[in-house]
Amino acid sequence: MSSIWEYANPKKFIATTNRLLPWVTGLAVVLMAVGLVWGFFFTPDDFRQGSTVKIIYIHVPAAMMAINTWAMMLVTSLVWIVRRHHVSALAARAAAPIGAVMTVIALATGAIWGQPMWGTWWEWDPRLTSFLILFLFYLGYIALWSAIEEDDTAADLTSILCLVGSVFAILSRYAVNFWNQGLHQGSSVLRAGALMGDTEERVSNVFATPLFISMAGFVMLFIALVFLRTQTEIRARRMRALLARERMQ
């Protein structure tokens, strides 16, 4: 029985992800295309929000990935701290720019959506503010990796930053529940009641099916990009090691 820790071996990780990458990429393209085309072209307008409801097919998956990317970075950072596997630290490094882009998309589409619905581009609302802080943590995390030359030190310090930033990732997800105030609505997509048929605040099936497909597409895109970018980080690390050895001779 093979163990997950086998993938901490860079060669094994690259070989396995090379085999999976075409499938994951293909799945990402198909799911995103189906979800977005279905949502944009073949769903009706909402009775309150009009055609702006079509923004949901990008805004919700991007916001979901903004938070979940940090969650993945938290897990891989903990693996680095506890087991010192380089691939795990490099996977966190590889994921950060993806999370940052997803956060920008969530913030930008939220502002564009908010202007006609709330009458403002921005409000210092708990969820919006915690998302902005999460974005700043992403920038800080990326900058810290770039600022430190020694890979292990960079991995140590960025892992600690990741642990601290996790507070804001959790806040971004649950800010609405904690404070129950502000303009942003509460969760209505994956609410327990919504899934069990409570129709009070539930996203209608007309919108929910393409939305779930789009969310699955964003997850696959994330996995494909993490595979590719982690391979790149592994190669870049090996190159730095070889060049350092060459300089010492």
């Binding site: 055609s51 998309i105 959506w113 895109l221 990009l225 970018r229 870049a236 190159m239 070889l242 050895r245």
Partner: protein, 51 residues
């Protein structure tokens, strides 16, 4: 093209900004992957040659 009514600008700009950012992320990731792979191959070849 569906009739987006008075919110057409908001909807279309949301899609344009998002898909543009995603495309840029993919292109930059693939370009860096190729660049680093080529550079590593060169370094490995040089190291092999010089023992």
């Amino acid at each position: 093209m569906p009739d987006l009514g008075k919110y057409a600008d908001a909807v279309l700009s949301s899609y344009a900004v998002s898909l543009g950012l995603i495309l840029a992320l993919v292109v930059l990731s693939v370009a860096r992957a190729r660049r680093v792979r080529t550079a590593l191959e060169e370094v490995e070849a040089r190291v092999k040659k010089h023992g």
